[in-house]
Symmetry: C2
Subunit: 411 residues, 2 copies
């Protein structure tokens, strides 16, 4: 199989480095893409489950823009709804009725939701959730999971990152994932001081196997928090609408007070949402939280169309089927080359690891060899499939994976 | 003159209140629009300097979506650039070359800029600026202006708002606007502890006259901060590209280290930017800051087209001329009715107050009467003109203002 040339990407990256800190920053930074020479840096276009880089290379995309492209790039129904709205108004001096329609649809779709609120970033709504928790309880501490990610606001980042100060974490208590005893200890130790517990519905750190909740974990957590008057906040930014359209908590059988959504909600159009239970609505209304483009109607129309389409096709089932098919094939091919590919997390957004090499170096080599053959795989982050991935895509991916295993043999 | 009926707006608002906290939240909330019965709540469409509400009422818009619509709604050059990019890609798994082109253009346009960084909200980049200041100085305190607004992150909000805790403000020191002696005192009192000073280029609070910098204020500030190794951060989210395309600091003759932009940068498409001086680039690269849609190419293409158009037409001149024309006419009409309309701030984004009534009630009545006749005026916030406002718009606005003064006579 031919491997790709990235000379245009590399030229653009050199140009980017002159005028942008790090060239490309944040979660798009090439830094975790190892070996870096295996990866393209700049895209030219995208359609369905594929994107093309500036060198003209075509990729079957297994990151879906890090989650948003749940229906595939340029989905006709979503794009049409967006464009129809854009002909009327987007940013305006007063709100759009699309906001009301979208809130109504989400309140119908999501069992715990009695209201909805819209912003732009996932962090906008995880921040808002903690402010609501503080307003509603009159308490200040927040419990979070070690290695849990809720955006890059200073309090949410792991300690030790650049630009943070110790005080940022003064009211954040981190406990290990799936450790109910640790939660009980913290709740007792800080009795009456804890406003909320924020967590993803399952644990999806980077550079590590993803972990589902232990049997009964969420049910015990929910019960304890209710007893103690602590609000339960689910950060469904990454998993939302992939596991269950009513919130990933429905998939695991529990009821949080607040759920934060972003990414897949609008198939790539910029919008995030917080939904909550009725008793919190008055507190939510009192917290002042806003942004320049939060009322833009275009992304609201897109989100409404996206959620309707996800419901129409029962997207969680499609994604689970697509993911399971992809994963089974990759595991089988790995095995045929003498490797064990461990697949963790939800099938449609799984994390993959070759267990033969705990350093992840082999895994990086294999992902790189796949990428430079046209299946875009990262080694540090869970992947994402969309409803647009086809059997033809999977067959091509398996062929690529097979060839990539041959390439890394003996390394 | 006829006044407007808002029954559809009110029906939609009742519907909104059922599923959205407060019905409409944040700076779009109808709460400060007093008398509330004078205002529409939901828009249907917008074009140029006008928008239409859900009752079919047409307004000459003096809020420009609270700033973004600098070239008017649905500007052909910006929309075309956006749509061309959207045919290729928007949210994608890898970055877009539009990001590089936009950064290059901004580095050329803005004298202090050696690099640029893009996000979604104004608060994304004001937050980032403070993280960079902390990373670069190893210090933790931030000085800000009393009544200054830099977004709704907890540390930036005024104390006492719902959902905040005392600790949020532990490292923020507020000083009065234009008070160099207060700055000197704080800098000496916290010698070696202050990372940065964040301020708008001039003071534009709500519910109060806007204030320009005193003669020599910024030059003294700049000199003191340089001497003390404190970074100077200009929050140009509201004024940016309206006073001077190179940053509003150029208008007032000083050089900050970092400038935060949002609003007018993309004529309504969702994008914000931080630009900075060369020595901060390595620190900016180390701070981890990211969001789900920060690499979307559509708004970058829009911003590039918007900035090019602003440059081509010398937008700050157009806005100053448009604003001066509007203001002079309104002042003259107020005078003919025996009122003094005080106009403060930049002519193209002025704050208006009828000085006869310090309670602002008369001002509210007059703004309300203008709005219900088709000139959308708020009483609590500075207004905005766009380059799309025409002489015909101003003439119509003056006629409306005249009729509104007649309506409030004797109240």
């Amino acid at each position: 199989m031919n491997t790709f040339d990235y000379s245009q990407s590399q030229a653009w990256f050199a140009r980017a480095c002159k005028v942008i800190p790090g060239g490309i920053y944040g979660h798009f930074s090439p830094a975790p893409c190892v070996p870096v020479s295996a990866y393209p840096f700049f895209g030219a276009r995208a359609k369905g489950a594929h994107f093309w880089d500036v060198d003209g290379n075509e990729f079957i995309d297994y990151m879906c823009a890090y989650g948003p492209m749940i229906l595939g790039y340029a989905h006709p129904a979503v794009d049409e709804a967006y464009q129809e709205q854009m002909k009327l108004a987007d940013s305006n001096t007063i709100a759009s009725t699309k906001m009301v329609e979208l809130a109504e649809f989400m309140v119908d779709l999501i069992p715990i939701a009695d209201w909805a609120f819209f912003a732009k970033n996932g962090a906008d709504v995880t921040n808002y959730a903690t402010m609501i928790a503080r307003a509603a309880t009159g308490r200040k501490k927040i419990i979070a999971i070690k290695g849990g990610y809720h955006g890059t606001s200073p309090w949410m980042q792991a300690t030790g990152h650049h630009g943070l100060i110790e005080d940022d974490h003064a009211n954040v208590i981190r406990i290990p994932w799936n450790d109910f005893a640790a939660l009980e200890n913290v709740v007792n130790q800080y009795d009456g001081q804890i406003a909320g517990f924020i967590s993803s519905p399952y644990h999806h750190p980077v550079f590590a196997d993803n972990e589902f909740p232990a049997e009964g974990y969420w049910q015990k957590v929910e019960q304890l928090l209710r007893k103690k008057g602590i609000l339960l906040i689910v950060d469904d930014v990454r998993c939302g609408f992939r596991l269950d359209l009513g919130g990933s908590n429905e998939h695991f059988g529990f009821k949080p007070d607040l759920i934060a959504f972003c990414k897949a909600i609008g198939n790539g159009y910029p919008i995030s949402a917080l939904v909550g239970a009725g008793p919190l609505k008055s507190f939510a209304a009192k917290v002042f939280h806003t942004g320049s483009y939060w009322y833009s109607a275009g992304p609201m129309a897109a989100a409404l169309a996206c959620l309707k389409e996800l419901k129409r096709i029962n997207a969680p089932n499609v994604l689970r089927e697509n993911g399971t098919k992809l994963n089974d094939g990759l595991v089988r091919i790995a095995k045929s080359h003498g490797y064990t590919l461990k697949v963790t997390g939800d099938p449609g957004m799984a994390y993959y690891r070759l267990i033969e090499d705990e350093t992840l170096m082999l895994q990086q080599e294999w992902c790189g060899e796949c990428t430079r053959r046209g299946a875009y795989f990262t080694s540090h982050h869970n992947w994402f499939v969309s409803t647009a991935h086809s059997d033809e895509d999977f067959q091509r991916t398996w062929d690529i994976a097979d060839d990539a295993f041959k390439a890394i043999k003996g390394r």
